[in-house]
């Protein structure tokens, strides 16, 4: 019922921002609730964080240039959007649907979203492949008239001899961090399916990767969770949230 209500709010351009305080709350549910409206959730481990986070939220509201930024996707044969993640601002996984709620755009600040596609061979019909075809709808309060939707069309050339230029380092960097977040997502999903051993293995790998990237504190937290997992076959309430929000913040 809450999620249905969130969907209705999204239709009315009302966003939800979630703050989870303490340990005993469902972070997955809060994420889903907030992201349905283009919002995000935050984890408050200490009471003194509440004021800081609220101030950030209010400042963001004051600096909003456009809100209710929604990308409506037209289906493209053989091309599947498998994952979407907002890198900046308020990093969060965006639920993949025909309509992607991308959140607000602030003045003098960028919003960056990364999309992962799975492209089947049947999608290749010519030397140009359409990856994205859709409309971007925004609402700009300072404009007296509604802003017309923007048509978005992204295509890539297809060749038997592709260029060997490396991908932009910003994308590689973003993907390397996102990989860590998705690894903990995967481990949590495996746990839900009862695959404790597999989840444990992936969490250990995640901790190793965090260590090599210098994230020692988060790696330690995850290794403690591995111990907890081995004893109780479940993650601790606090540790799982630290893992979720910690990897997201990378």
């Amino acid at each position: 019922m809450c999620l249905a209500l969130a969907s209705k709010l999204a239709e009315r351009n009302i966003g939800i921002s979630g703050l989870g305080i303490g340990k005993e709350w469902n972070d997955i549910f809060l994420d889903v609730l907030a992201t349905r409206t283009g919002g995000s959730s935050a984890y408050i481990a200490q009471p003194q964080d509440i004021k800081r986070l609220l101030l950030e939220k209010f400042n963001a509201l004051a600096q909003t240039y456009a809100d209710d930024v929604t990308l409506s996707l037209n289906p493209v044969d053989g091309v599947e959007l498998s994952y979407a993640f907002r890198l900046e601002r308020d990093p969060v996984a965006i639920p993949v649907d025909d309509q992607l709620h991308l959140g607000a755009i602030l003045q003098d600040a960028s919003t960056r979203v990364i999309f992962e596609y799975i492209i089947q061979p049947k999608a290749v019909k010519s030397d140009l492949l359409t990856v994205l075809d859709g409309m971007l709808k925004v609402s700009i309060a300072s404009h007296p008239m509604p802003v017309p939707s923007l048509r978005l069309h992204l295509s890539r050339p297809i060749s038997d001899n592709p260029e060997t230029d490396p991908p932009p380092p910003q994308i590689v960097q973003a993907l390397s961090r996102l990989m860590l977040y998705r690894m903990q997502e995967r481990a949590r999903k495996e746990l839900e399916e009862g695959q404790v051993e597999s989840a444990t293995r992936h969490l250990r790998v995640l901790a190793s990767n965090l260590l090599t990237q210098g994230e020692r504190s988060l790696a330690q937290t995850i290794l403690l969770e591995v111990d907890h997992l081995q004893e109780k076959h479940a993650l601790s309430a606090e540790g799982s949230k630290t893992m979720n929000y910690g990897t997201r913040a990378l």
Binding site: V172, L175, H202, R204, A207, S208, N209, Q220, L223
Partner: protein, 169 residues
């Protein structure tokens, strides 16, 4: 399909990082060349001489040990076999890796506790008849029996927990 050279996991074509172990997949080039001046080189060399980087890895290091309680990472190189243990006064045989500075005594590490070695493309650990045992991921292993180690495994010498970080072997 792209096969990860680290863990042999099959990844979808186009993936940049292995979904199983997180290693960067072959063919993904991230280095960007940039011109640097002689002054920058000299400054970097001077910085390196003064800095002691506890996490720097020798070129031929095939394994690092992450001591989980202290957070210290010990990269190991130049040999294929290392004994782990605790130095004791008057002891004639010394372990290759002395864990005394890392609360080894309090953790129940024996003087010659275990050996970690590389055998072709495998990494093995063997308990040397220690008093408090050697564990792999919580499971106690039998003395004098070699057991395989994987990247990320946690071995415990008594109560001293060490995570094993392997480079491509």
């Amino acid at each position: 399909m792209i096969i990860c050279t680290n863990c042999q996991h099959k990844n979808v074509a186009g993936a940049m990082f292995c979904a199983e172990c997180g290693a960067q997949l072959d063919g993904v080039e991230t280095l960007i060349t940039q011109a640097i001046t002689d002054e920058q080189i000299a400054a970097e060399l001077n910085k390196k001489a003064a800095r002691q980087d506890p996490v720097s890895t020798p070129v031929n290091s095939w394994i690092s040990l992450h001591l989980m309680d202290s957070g210290k990472i010990l990269p190991l190189a130049s040999r294929n076999e290392f004994t782990l243990g605790r130095l004791s006064e008057g002891q004639p045989i010394m372990p290759d890796i002395d864990l005394t500075p890392y609360q080894a005594y309090a953790s129940g590490v024996s003087r010659l506790h275990a050996v970690v070695k590389r055998d072709a493309d495998r990494v093995l650990v063997m308990d040397l008849g220690s008093s408090n045992g050697t564990y792999i991921n919580g499971r106690r292993i039998n003395p004098h029996v070699e057991e395989s180690l994987n990247h990320g495994d946690i071995i415990a010498l008594g109560k001293l927990k060490i995570q094993v970080l392997l480079r491509n072997i």
